[in-house]
């Protein structure tokens, strides 16, 4: 499973989610994550059709198919629950 994180420097919600993801990544070292800047990584932004709300978190399975998308600020507990439930995907 892989999580793609889309954010922007000018978005307060993205700033708040930064340390939350940092903690999750430290606690679940097997988890693969990639960060894309909305203003710089135009290719990825277009590919995943990010055009409404930031931050956006796209959850991909082993075949790189999207199985979940979350927008806005998300509680750490909720993210951890999703990650553990879908660990083998």
């Amino acid at each position: 499973m892989k999580v793609l994180k889309f954010g922007a420097a000018w978005c307060p919600g993205c700033i708040i989610m930064g340390p939350r993801w940092k903690e999750i990544e430290a606690e679940h070292s097997w988890l693969q994550t990639e960060y894309y800047d909305f203003d710089k990584d135009k290719e990825a932004v277009e590919k995943y059709n990010i055009n409404d709300t930031l931050p956006t978190f796209v959850f991909l399975d082993k075949e790189s198919n999207e199985f979940l998308r979350l927008n806005g600020e998300v509680e750490k507990e909720k993210l951890v629950e999703i990650i553990i439930q879908n660990k083998d995907k």
Binding site: W10, P12, G13, I16, D52
Partner: protein, 417 residues
């Protein structure tokens, strides 16, 4: 001997009769000229006091009332009196008894002063300086009435007893704080609550978050502290200036009822909007559309923070704090405007107004200070999550609706102490 005794008894009774007669006091009629405005809360309190309390205590008192907001003739009369009698009329309520005038109302001071003056004029003939202008028959010129000495209670002791019982009625016992006067305690509490709720306004927070995220990338801790603190102090100063300006505008316009009603309606509207947002707006991220302003602001901030000269960076940060906060005032003007209206209703001395505004700003900045200090200490980005912002919206919305209703229907309930 028997005749002598009868004579003695007669003389004793005569002396007693004369003594009782001498105890009965001469009481002169007293005229009070009361200038007020419809919708002015302090005027309403003073009016109730004059008719319900003072007239009962002193039957010799006659109150003549003159409404000046809607009655041009009365307003001109007051203006004429001010010119002719060299009176300093700074607003209403304005009361003239004898040759003395009383401006404004204070629950703790005015009743005692008025009692004292009416008592003085009913025992010593006071000159009625207004009668010649109003065309009233100066009742003061009529023969003094002889009344039973029912008002012979010493006004000083009566005043003290009344104010003591009034004060006891307002005393409440709180855990940790002991017994406090509820009235004098309410305004500081309201100030702290509204200030803190205003601080959770996301408009006020996002610029600081940007700045902190940029500061965290620096290696120079001292520079981080200086720039961050300068931004917070400059932001607080802009907010202070705005609130003082708004308060002075409200005081300058006087207690015109429609302004109070408009602010009350704004509070009602703002409160309903906040509760609607709490209940129905589940969106807690940043909209991509229309974010160009934020992008520009972020870029400008980035260039200021990266400035090599500390002084230039400092100047840039202070200028930015002024600019950002002035723009963001549009977003967060609701609560400060409502609060300053409540403050104006309390007719305080100028220094107290400024102290209350400073207290408001201290609580307004609390969350910013918390975020800044925690981040600087831990060097980890900290922010107030939308969960708390949403709760603040619910509480703030409820308070705004309550204050809005009071401003419209019961402004006197917002006059503390």
């Amino acid at each position: 001997m028997k005749i002598g005794l009868k004579k003695t008894i007669f003389i004793v009774f005569l002396c007693l009769f004369l003594l009782i007669q001498s105890i009965e006091a001469e009481v002169f009629p007293v005229n009070a000229y009361f200038f007020y405005g419809d919708g002015c809360p302090h005027c309403a309190v003073e009016k109730d006091f004059l008719y319900d309390v003072l007239e009962d205590e002193y039957p010799s008192l006659t109150v003549y009332e003159y409404e000046i907001y809607n009655n041009r003739e009365n307003a001109l009369l007051l203006q004429n009196l001010a010119e002719q009698l060299k009176l300093k009329v700074e607003g209403v309520p304005f009361l003239i008894i004898g040759d003395e005038s009383f401006v404004g109302w204070s629950n703790t001071i005015t009743p005692g002063l008025l009692r004292e003056k009416v008592y003085e004029c009913s025992v010593i003939k006071c000159p009625d300086v207004v009668a010649q202008f109003t065309g009233n028959t100066p009742e003061i010129e009529s023969e003094p009435e002889i009344v039973e000495p029912e008002s012979e209670i010493d006004p000083e002791s009566k005043k003290e007893t009344d104010s003591e019982s009034e004060q006891n009625k307002n005393m409440i016992t709180l855990p940790f704080l002991g017994t406090v006067d509820a009235l004098s305690f309410s305004l500081p509490i309201l100030t702290m609550i509204i200030g803190a709720l205003d601080g959770f306004n996301p408009c006020a927070m996002w610029v600081l978050l940007f700045l902190i995220s940029l500061l965290l990338g620096m290696k120079d801790r001292k520079r981080m502290w200086i720039l961050g603190s300068a931004f917070i102090i400059a932001s607080a100063f802009v907010y202070f200036l705005f609130m003082v300006a708004w308060l002075n505008l409200i005081i300058f316009l006087g207690f015109v009822s429609w302004i109070r009603i408009v602010v009350g309606l704004v509070a009602l509207g703002g409160g309903i909007y906040s509760i609607k947002e709490f209940l129905f707006n589940k969106m807690n991220g940043c909209k991509v559309a229309g974010a160009s302003g934020k992008k520009k602001m972020f870029e400008r901030m980035k260039s200021i923070v990266k400035e090599n000269s500390l002084w230039l960076a400092l100047g840039g940060i202070i200028t930015l704090a002024f600019a950002v906060n002035l723009v963001e005032l549009v977003c967060s003007a609701g609560l400060p405007a409502i609060y300053t209206q409540v403050l104006a209703l309390n007719a305080l001395p100028a220094w107290k107004y400024y102290l209350y505004i400073l207290l408001y700003i201290l609580f307004f900045m609390l969350d910013d200070l918390f975020v800044f200090f925690v981040t600087m200490k831990t060097l980890q980005m900290t922010g107030i999550t939308t969960k708390y912002t949403k709760v603040a919206r619910l509480v703030g919305g409820t308070i705004m609706i309550a204050i809005g209703l009071m401003l419209i229907f019961r402004p006197e309930w917002l006059m503390f102490g």
